[in-house]
Symmetry: C2
Subunit: 350 residues, 2 copies
């Protein structure tokens, strides 16, 4: 198979980890006789520095004409505490998601057998946990109208959803549940929010088409608690953009490190694969960033194109690296093994 892949390393540890994912994809291409053609483009704070824009047109053009995007991370502390900054790296990420129509964000969370001890949660709580979060990614309060009054004393964000936006991701989530453990939990705040009540109504209606899937409802506050009390109760979680952001970062503690969590963002025509960790600026350039989240995102990329065998090989190599403790310090506290050493091991194993 021939695939054109846009690589958007972005900020912070983005470039380091993406490099390893690319390395691994190249190993897969070599091993399985595929042709993967990589082209790089700018996004985030580095893009602002060089072009003034967090998601330049050139980057957009590249994304539009490639088959898939491998994304690193964006974000730079110099923008975080400057509420008046007009251009922010995050806008690049959000613009990409919106303009490429990536409405379904899939975030699988698993307790790795080799890492049960690494989690802040007790072993018996996380053992067997295996859930996938379907987070809506192009709607809700992230993209609703933002206002700041002239005197700067009142600010607002509109959280809006249409039935259509809910339907399309709901179908994706129900289909995923059908080939998993057939349980779908809708996480919302329907006791307070009108938009959540629309979610409940639409999802309840769609559930009728998926009679083999059990539908559960959970308020987001309770979900944040249940995720820790009893994560094995979850199979597929369906939720909106904001709640999905919070719940999926929280769920990362199950795996023992956010450095292990991959994600896929899928639209009708385009697909982006990115680790859920951010740019982690404190770690930049130190060789301590865990490349596994990015590498597993590359595996999700392969699965997206039906290359399941290839993806399985990556998973096997990742498992092996964990088993042999070829790991960065987030997993092995005093480890001297660098980001690129982990990448090398996984690529070589393939």
């Amino acid at each position: 198979m021939k695939l054109n892949i846009a690589v958007l390393p972005g900020d912070g540890i983005g470039p380091e980890v993406t490099k390893q994912a690319k390395k691994v994809l190249e190993a897969v291409a070599h091993q399985f006789n595929h042709t993967f053609i990589f082209k790089e483009a700018l996004v985030g704070a580095v893009a602002i520095d060089k072009t003034g824009e967090p998601f330049p047109q050139e980057t957009m053009d590249l994304c539009l004409k490639t088959d898939a995007v491998l994304f690193g991370a964006i974000g730079d502390p110099k923008y975080d505490n400057d509420p008046s900054a007009k251009v922010r790296p995050e806008q690049g990420l959000l613009k990409m998601r919106k303009d490429l129509g990536l409405f379904t964000n899939i975030r699988p969370v698993k307790a790795f057998e080799q890492l049960l001890d690494k989690s802040p949660l007790k072993k018996e709580i996380i053992k067997g946990a295996d859930l996938t979060i379907y987070r809506e990614l192009t709607g809700g309060i992230y993209f609703g109208e933002k206002k700041i009054s002239k005197d700067g004393k009142t600010a607002s964000d509109l959280g809006e959803y249409s039935a259509y936006e809910i339907e399309r991701i709901a179908h994706a989530a129900f289909k995923a549940a059908q080939v998993r453990r057939k349980k779908l939990t809708l996480v919302d705040k329907a006791n307070v929010l009108e938009s959540s009540r629309l979610w409940r109504k639409v999802v309840t209606e769609i559930a009728k088409e998926y009679k083999d899937v059990e539908l559960h409802y959970l308020f987001v506050d309770n979900a944040a608690m249940q995720m820790i009390l009893n994560p094995t109760q979850f199979d597929v979680i369906l939720t909106d953009n904001l709640f999905g952001d919070i719940i999926s970062d929280e769920a990362s503690v199950i795996g023992g490190s956010i450095g292990l969590l991959a994600s896929a963002s899928i639209g009708e025509k385009h697909a982006v694969f990115e680790p859920i960790h951010g740019s982690y600026p404190q770690a930049t350039g130190k060789g301590i960033a865990n490349p596994i989240a990015s590498i597993l995102s590359a595996a999700m990329l392969l699965e997206h194109f039906g290359l399941n065998e290839e993806a399985a090989v990556i998973h096997k190599a990742v498992d092996k690296s964990l088993e042999l403790k070829i790991s960065t310090p987030d997993i092995l506290p005093d480890s001297k093994i660098t980001t690129s050493k982990v990448g090398d091991f996984i690529a070589d194993y393939i």
Copy 2:
């Protein structure tokens, strides 16, 4: 001291637990020679059933003329999955908070020494955790304009904050930090939300008046993760209504049971004290509900009126009950000890 206390038991386990808190307050009154006069009123689903309103005028009138309110819980599953219900029990709670001007919600979270084993988190993670969440309670997306389009296909909620709303709770939170470990963490989503950027701006400005307090910023997704990875890093957390709802329920896992967490909701003129657990309908009437959250809310009530010695006695009695394992099944899995037995023990100990 003479105190007029309105008791609003509400729904589900609300009545059972509130009864124990009242019992304990009566023991305190007796022991310390105070006069506490209790008057009951309706709120929540029971209020809807009897009057058609979740927060009837009569209840409001009572709250207005008493010194403090002891609140149980509201919520009934028959409303949760009915997105079209016009009247909902939650509206009673929200109306009370709004009409009484209870803008500061204080939720202390502590790892009880006797219960370190009960948490799903590892002992070494939670040991020493002692944090307090200051949640804004009368603004934000809870109270912004809600819309549903005529065809029912689009729904929205407006998340709005004014500088004034942020300032008044920020001052309360900074003052709390001054008499604690002098660290305040603002939790927001300033990389996406305009209202969060206003929070950051206003709080950063106010911090200049509290030079002895260290101000930290944390995005809510990261906060949801940090709360589990390393809860001892937190002292006072300041956040908005929605994020406070999620983070405080999540933080309840530190204590080992949500049945232990009290809260105070304070305004300029009024104050309401309530457990953070909800109505927990599945447990209603079974005698398994933990009354400690409600009892500790009563202790917060006493502290609010400067009765610190009295509050300390309640804390001591609660500690004793935990030490002697006079506990409900949420804490002691096979316990046959009922809600009212726990209340009796604590009241008698006083």
